[in-house]
Point group: C2
Chain length 132, copies 2
């Protein structure tokens, strides 16, 4: 049996994916993959997601350069959630220029941002453009 067939894809053919940083254990981001994205992720050992907003494959880092090198791929008990352990190139996983996407902490019934922007998004995407 093909390992991809063992996954319980949802009605849209997607599976939720949690990306965790292998050396810090920090949860970096949450996204989705379809079958092709997961196959490509395993083949290339670089995270490829499915963008639900753009409705196409999203090679993480294709614009920002902040690719994720995949060390490990895990599946949960119900075979419907993927956990990947990754090395975050550039140390920035979030499109806001922060280390990870979970920078809002609930504090006294308010969401407080407790992570600094490492690099301004304009700078991230400008720099990349210069290389192209």
């Amino acid at each position: 049996m093909n390992w991809l067939d063992e996954i319980n894809w949802d009605a849209n053919g997607l599976v939720p994916v949690i990306a965790q940083e292998f050396n810090t254990g920090k949860v970096l981001m949450f996204a989705w993959m379809n079958r092709e994205a997961l196959q490509l992720t395993n083949d290339s050992k670089q995270a490829v997601y499915w963008s639900r907003s753009r409705n196409k494959l999203w090679r993480k880092g294709e614009e920002s350069g902040h690719i994720q090198k995949v060390h490990e791929i895990r599946l949960d008990c119900d075979e419907d959630v993927i956990l990947i352990n990754v090395e975050q190139v550039g140390g920035i996983a979030c499109h806001t220029g922060r280390h990870n996407c979970f920078f809002k902490k609930l504090d006294n019934n308010q969401w407080l941002t407790d992570q600094a922007v490492i690099k301004h998004p304009d700078e991230i995407y400008e720099e990349k453009s210069k290389h192209e």
Copy 2:
């Protein structure tokens, strides 16, 4: 503005939730919450999810005793994913009796289980019944 109103609930009124163990950094499980579940989680500081299969609130540990004490609640950049940091009572988060749900590792195109069962599910649920 109420902190619950800042969350981008999906079409079903749910938000995906990642539960991470606060002292080990391990990702324990993935589940969903609706507004009531998240409110209850924050009020009680114990994880309450929404069971999509049973279509009702799921007070984690209500049958197994393996409750999750919530240390921190975080929200992501797009305000549509929650990350909670929890203390896993009993050291077992998964209904299979394992520490966490991500015990299948992709190895040479096969899913290999690399986590032992700490307590057999029959035993977990029997014990609980005895207390009731």
